[in-house]
Subunit: 139 residues, 4 copies
């Protein structure tokens, strides 16, 4: 089995803060405090990690673009093929008559993933973009 | 044709700021200043829009989870089926021996998309999550 | 004494995750895990709270501006006086020959604080701005 | 006079996007489109710059803490004195009976400013913190 062993230890929290946290957990559907703590730890470690340009990361790049834009899809495909070893997969959604959404999963150093995201976002016709980074090493 | 008519107008920028911006555009691969300005405008409008809980939004939810976690995949699928009219599509990636990544595209009011993201992120076994919001109305 | 009573309880974390977290705490100078957990909880609760436009918040607004800009300082002062019951204090720094920095501490509903921040940031001559929100209710 | 010369050039924007932008500007109190574009450019350049750990930056660090916490104020003062060449000024606000807010303006390389912010935020008794970075070089 691949699940690592659990370590159990005691934590002290102010009673009123703990009450608010418990309400938050209940509202969000968390099963246990331990599970919630693990999530908070991982989120904090990932946040720290992806500030290092040399860290290994996974990027989720969202592009919204007008598919009527001449040659845009060719250009997007072209960049992705040149960087194919950094691209895991691409999901395409037809949002409405004009707009497409493409969610591209990237893998590589933080600096590489960011540079690819900028290259893909800056083409004429790409209307909105967002890059979210995560790190598998810390989770 | 669905492309709306372009309006042309003059803009005044300090010469040194414009120089820095042009260098940024060149480095990022932007074709023209106009294209870059459109991107900046849209990004600002979207940022504003998604602060309204009642605005229509598209959410890109990234989950990284341990697929050895008992019943997690059933639970994830279950929530998604109950909310199927808010879920456009789901992409699945096997990151390594233990970790899976699921990118779920959601559609609905900002508050609904956020609540769904929290519900899906809070299951035991989900190690990291990120929700990125965009708005089609402004782009 | 105003410190609320502490509640002590057990938490289970995967050993490898805990190791990474301990290294992070040591590096960051945290005294104990409990202290770090409290910080993570508060940060998460505040993040949630300030998404509600009606929540009470404190805003730290940073403005960088060119003090040679005609009438800018009068305008900034004017808006602040009209909103004086929302403004706690203002700190001023002379960054260099041309640039000033003003850090304005605001208090009020999230929506009010954001609107004031936009009003103060949008004057001609204000070159850069940032608004950070916190909530005292959750901490 | 220190104001650099303005360069005027033409920009083309889709009419419906421009309408939405004009409404946003009017609502936010912007005088002219040019002024708004300058702000968008500077914000984008600063965002880019502060990703470089070696870039010169100014940090606005917000700390909320319980002033009843034994020796906290001494520790905060102590760290600040050791780093006095990186600290421009500190503003203190008494939020309520228990809570104080301290806004510390820092100057130095991005990595240094971040490290100082972490050191000051991690003391027992500091309940919430936020670091906002800006860069004078790009604005």
């Amino acid at each position: 089995m691949s699940t690592p062993p659990l370590v159990r230890f005691g934590v002290s929290i102010e009673s009123d803060l703990l009450q608010k946290f418990d309400r938050f957990l209940e509202h969000g559907g968390y099963g246990t405090r331990s599970e919630a703590f693990r999530d908070l730890i991982r989120a904090r470690l990932v946040e720290e990690r992806v500030q290092d340009p040399d860290a290994e990361a996974i990027g989720v790049l969202t592009l919204v673009y007008n598919h009527h834009q001449r040659e845009l899809e060719e250009k997007l495909t072209d960049v992705q093929h040149h960087a194919h070893h950094h691209i895991i997969t691409t999901t395409h959604v037809h949002l409405d008559h004009d707009n497409c959404m493409e969610v591209i999963l990237l893998r590589g150093k933080v600096a590489t993933v960011r540079a690819l995201a900028t290259a893909l976002s800056s083409f004429k016709g790409v209307k909105h973009s967002n890059i979210a980074l995560t790190s598998v090493r810390d989770i």
